[in-house]
Symmetry: C2
Subunit: 349 residues, 2 copies
């Protein structure tokens, strides 16, 4: 056996997740005028006359996106549904229909799938989403969830990632970092349990961060508040991969630079306390933790007063021209370039 | 450890695929008037005023739905796209957009994913479908494909499974059983190869059935011919699970019985020849083989002359009132109850 006929092999890790998606979807031909937005936002946007249809799709894979050791199936179903609904919310839309694909090995029972579906249904009832189809198949091993959610919004109300403008204010809802700290807690208890199965998990008093990790919500309420205040975001995205990654999406897709102020980043006191226990900077958890599913959006600077008065919305920075780059201004006044998953490395000083 | 606190465990196999889907989706609440059809047809149907949006979703799992030993990745991508497009065609619609979810282990290279995507893109170009989004994630092992396809059709043109009427003619496009015979051939060559890797596969002269298995097409052309002839099917479904299973869907969902005539079932001569080699009844291959992705539909009996003159459409039976049951009339004139995956067992006589 010689190797000289072997075709080139590039490892998936060489491109990274975003690089891989860019690579696979580059140069795609679009045939239909109704395709207003394809790859590259929280959801695809399809023209229907006065309104548009929004479609988003996510895969959740056992051992990659969730660990059934500490994720109850009902929570997993709920979260899988919510994560997708959040993508529609991030386009300023209303989720209306959902399709669920489940692939499971025979390690799972009908009762286990019932639990999973109970969580999905609970989310569908809470967010008034119709479960309209899907597919259930077997797998050789493991549990795979594939959710497609469909939403609606008036054409003039769609909010993209790429439409922020210079001097716009950068806002975030709720607080950040909690979901990541909750994950660390669950991972730690898993290790403790592995070492000694008689040990009871120490999860009491940590309900807030556990709920952030296990049972996130889509911020429909924030859209409602913004509408009531007469504010339309100029650009929007939901925080699935951490503030750093999402801010970079807004800035780069809009062709702009930005400043984020560390002291403005909202972190809950429980998150900060447990982060300290883990010797993790809460800002790191917020910037790179991910899975908070809060909304990150920009508004016109003239909407400052309106936005400031809305409870649970925090102004954390502003957009600048592209040449200014993307920086975090630390509590000490230093400037750190914002990098997706890069904040940890910056703390060497 | 005692077992008396163990919750009830029902094996997935106890319900079967259709039973499981029924079980999981029973009693689902529908909140939106725009949801014209949820679970239970080839695609969900969402109202948009004059037109409707059709959405269908399929999962394809390595080791369950495909075997990469003999399925080139490019063919797999093409087939995965076509199978979904076929679901939209089966609603009398036009596929317009597609979202692709891929989950792969690091056993796959970027070049392998490029091949898979090349197949998906080829199908999208052939059928003029816009690739508008998706998700690419890692898996612990294996390849999972999840495809969502979106389509469009005028509201008055949607064709459901459940709207066949008594005395309607049952028609099928193309020929049946080929995809299954192609699969048997590939499986046989895989066993030969396993036994002796030096052995060259004997696939020559069998191109037709191999193509039926590896590179099926969605019958958009049949919809065009029907429109040109001024015929609107009264009910329609695509043949993914075999003629028996699909005829039963049409009959049961429409609350009717039916007769299918064995001598009218179209089987290609290559399919019949290779079936004979495998000592398989070609009718069995057509009834239970599946994956032919031909269209099965009913038309008004007054459209008989119009349909009869369309090349590649075969009238194979008719609908009756429910009390008449669902039967296959054999070449010998005997009546056999039609059962999904049940035809083999009937041949004991």
């Amino acid at each position: 056996m010689t190797d000289n006929t072997t075709p080139q092999r590039t490892e998936l890790s060489a491109l990274g997740e975003f690089g891989l998606i860019d690579h696979l979807t580059s140069g795609i031909k679009i045939f239909h005028k109704s395709t207003l937005k394809g790859v590259g936002d929280d959801a695809a946007v399809i023209d229907n006359g006065d309104s548009v249809t929004l479609v988003s799709k996510d895969l959740l894979v056992e051992g990659v996106h969730f660990d059934l050791t500490y994720t109850p199936l009902r929570h997993l179903g709920y979260k899988a549904a919510v994560v997708n609904i959040s993508d529609i919310v991030a386009m300023n839309g209303t989720a209306t229909q959902m399709l669920v694909g489940i692939s499971v090995s025979n390690r799972f029972s009908v009762e286990a799938l019932d639990e999973l579906y109970a969580g999905i249904r609970l989310a569908c009832e809470k967010y008034k989403v119709d479960l309209v189809g899907g597919d259930t198949t077997s797998s050789v091993s493991g549990l795979f969830l594939s959710i497609t959610v469909i939403g609606k919004v008036k054409k003039e109300d769609v909010v993209y990632r790429s439409t922020a403008r210079e001097n716009d204010l950068i806002c975030v809802s709720g607080d950040l970092g909690g979901a990541y700290i909750g994950l660390l807690l669950l991972e730690r208890e898993k290790q403790v349990y592995k070492a000694n199965p008689q040990m009871q998990p120490e999860l009491e008093g940590n309900d807030y961060v556990l709920e952030r990790q296990l049972k996130p919500e889509a911020r429909v309420d924030v859209l409602v508040k913004l509408r009531e205040a007469g504010v339309k975001p100029t650009a929007m995205i939901d925080i699935s991969d951490g503030l750093a990654s999402e801010v970079l999406h807004l800035a780069k897709d809009s062709g702009l630079g930005c400043r984020i102020f560390e002291d403005k980043i909202p972190v809950d006191v429980v998150t900060a306390d447990i982060a300290a226990e883990f010797q993790i900077d809460p800002t790191t958890a917020a910037m790179n933790g991910g899975e908070d599913y809060e909304l990150l959006f920009t508004v016109d600077v003239n909407d400052f007063e309106k936005v400031k008065s809305i409870k649970d919305i925090h102004i954390i920075g502003h957009m600048l021209e592209k040449a200014e780059g993307e920086y975090l201004i630390s509590n000490g006044g230093s400037m750190y370039p914002i990098e997706a998953q890069g904040f940890n490395h910056m703390r060497e000083d």
